[in-house]
């Protein structure tokens, strides 16, 4: 003997039985997922305006912001720009050429900019990498605490191009940096240092 469907619940008359192949609840769940995942970006993009044009720092360093990144400030001494997405900041600095290579650029940035600006900082091991056009660079992460006591995490790319060097420093309150890891990867890889 075979049974065509699941046994009926004692509190359920046959006419009231739940139809298993229902589209409505599935479509509601799918719509809510899309609303939560994509809706915010739509709202954020609409209120943030169009994608920023490429940011040029000094005449030698160029970086294309990903959608959602805003240019917040620029300065000329040293040539620098600050981009922001949510709680993540990305500082871009252009420096004179460094014949000793990217490790020296990184070391100088740590000693002269990073350590003095934070109450505490722990620097990760540097790994060699390369920017667009084959410019040699090193990448390292760091964690630290601001003078206001906010725990930060950051990642730095220090590059030594033929006529300039550059530092790209992305940082955020602890736990936030990972949300833009993909953006940073694309922007870092596409950055040019002439």
């Amino acid at each position: 003997m075979t049974v065509d469907g699941p046994p009926e619940r004692p509190d359920e008359a046959p006419a009231q039985r739940v139809q298993e192949r229902r589209w409505v609840p599935v479509l509601i769940v799918a719509a809510l997922i899309l609303l939560v995942a994509q809706g915010a970006q739509t709202v954020a993009d609409a209120t943030a305006g169009a994608t920023e044009p490429a940011v040029t720092v000094g005449p030698t360093v160029q970086l294309q912001p990903r959608p959602g990144w805003d240019l917040v400030t620029t300065s000329s001494d040293p040539p620098a720009a600050r981009l922001q997405r949510g709680s993540v900041l990305l500082d871009v600095f252009a420096y004179p050429a460094e014949p000793a290579g990217p490790v020296a650029v990184a070391q100088r940035y740590v000693d002269e900019a990073l350590r003095p600006s934070l109450a505490q900082v722990s620097i990760g091991e540097a790994a060699e990498t390369m920017l667009a056009g084959g410019v040699p660079a090193v990448r390292f992460g760091y964690v630290g605490i601001t003078r206001e006591g906010v725990p930060l995490e950051g990642v730095v790319i220090a590059a030594a191009g033929p006529s300039a060097s550059a530092v790209l420093d992305a940082y955020a309150p602890q736990g936030e940096l990972a949300t833009v890891a993909e953006d940073l990867h694309v922007m870092f890889d596409g950055a040019t240092v002439r």
């Binding site: 769940v29 949510g86 990760g124 906010v150």
Partner: protein, 399 residues
């Protein structure tokens, strides 16, 4: 028998006729494409650190997966559904959560960058992530309705989903926030897994799964008007736990860089935020187990000493430890095929309870059919050399 089983129980996730399956699969494929690409990109930071991340997280996740998977003592969940929950958390929920990063921007635009810098992790991520993980559990329920039928089922699938999410999130953290080098990965593993690996997504999504299980359960005697507020409370507790974890409140753990005695203080400081919720979940699981046993007793009350279940078998069935011991004794005395058959008989007797709890009358054809099937399995077992002696040994007083 095949038709009955296809509808009642132990179904795989591959229910191609279910619309929910295709929606689940579409989001999962999207998540895999998005996250695999992102994870491979991260390997460029340090291949050795990347490989070490996966190795360490595999060593953490594999035993935890088995532990969670074996929590439901009476009704082991289908492996394909359990894996689907894990993969949803690992790929679909993480990818969708990355897409939902725009909520941080909205918060920054509404409340200011300084406020967002401090509070965005606590105010956006918990709501978004728990919703996205929970939505996967709801889709799984819509695919295999009979497999999520109790708070324990919901916890198992929810916790596995949370575990998947935690594994991929940890890899991203190790590579992006801890530098990605082997030394950074080891530090990240200590901070995020060894010091706090039991407090995070596994607990939050386990609770969300419990809420889903409570609402959809067909064993739950409480009416829906009582279940819904209770489920909402459980979800709120999960989100609150996540909010507290991400917020600057009660942050007694030392901040990085961690040095000297701070390595010891770190897990203690993190426990202040995480341990209360862990203890709550442990108590909730114990209560859920007791409730499962009460359900089993009630469902099989009319079946004991009947065709499908002897009194001795019922005593064994009530205790997972005794069930394992009986199967083990059968294996020793009558061989692996007999042990396999006994385990199958036990599973079918759990199904007998499931059917008995759902049908209106004791002479329902499905119930009679299941009794007959259990009896036929018992007869087949008795015909195997050594099986009767093993059963008598297992049923002996004092065991």
């Amino acid at each position: 028998m095949g038709v009955r089983h296809a509808h009642l129980h132990h179904r795989s996730v591959f229910q191609l006729h279910q619309p929910a399956f295709w929606v689940f699969a579409a989001f999962l494929v999207y998540g895999m494409v998005r996250m695999v690409g992102a994870l491979v990109q991260l390997s460029a930071v340090s291949r050795s650190g990347w490989a070490l991340s996966w190795l360490l997280l595999g060593l953490y996740a594999a035993p935890l997966f088995l532990l969670i998977y074996s929590l439901d003592l009476y009704e082991r969940e289908p492996l394909s559904v359990a894996l689907a929950a894990f993969l949803w958390g690992a790929f679909a929920a993480t990818a969708l959560a990355l897409d939902a990063g725009g909520w941080d921007q909205v918060l920054a635009q509404v409340a200011g960058a300084d406020f967002a810098a401090t509070w965005a992790p606590a105010l956006t991520a918990p709501v978004v992530e728990e919703f996205l993980k929970g939505a996967g559990i709801v889709l799984l329920y819509l695919i295999v309705r009979d497999e999520i039928d109790d708070v324990m089922d919901g916890f198992v699938y929810g916790a596995l989903c949370g575990l998947g999410f935690a594994v991929v999130e940890d890899v991203v953290y190790f590579m992006a926030a801890f530098g990605g080098t082997p030394a950074g990965v080891l530090q990240g593993f200590y901070v995020r897994v060894l010091s706090s690996g039991l407090y995070g997504h596994v607990l939050y999504t386990g609770l969300v799964g419990m809420a889903v299980g409570l609402v959809v359960s067909r064993r739950e005697p409480a009416p829906m008007r009582e279940r819904l507020p209770m489920a909402a409370g459980i979800v709120a507790l999960a989100v609150f736990g996540h909010v507290l974890w991400n917020s600057p409140l009660l942050s007694f753990a030392p901040n990085p860089p961690i040095e000297g005695v701070e390595w010891v203080l770190l897990p203690l400081g993190l426990a202040v935020k995480g341990l209360p919720l862990l203890l709550f979940v442990v108590v909730a699981l114990r209560l859920a187990r007791r409730r499962e046993r009460r359900w089993l007793d009630g469902a099989l009350a009319g079946e004991v000493d009947g065709e499908g279940l002897t009194a001795a078998e019922f005593d064994t069935l009530r205790s997972p430890a005794r069930r394992r011991a009986a199967v083990s004794a059968m294996r020793r005395r009558a061989g692996a095929p007999a042990a396999k058959l006994l385990a199958r008989l036990q599973r079918e007797q759990i199904d007998l309870a499931m059917i008995a709890s759902r049908v209106a009358t004791p002479d329902d054809p499905a119930l009679i059919q299941q009794r007959d099937y259990c009896r036929s399995l018992r007869d087949a077992l008795a015909a195997m050399p050594g099986a009767l002696a093993a059963a008598a040994h297992a049923d002996a007083p004092g065991r």
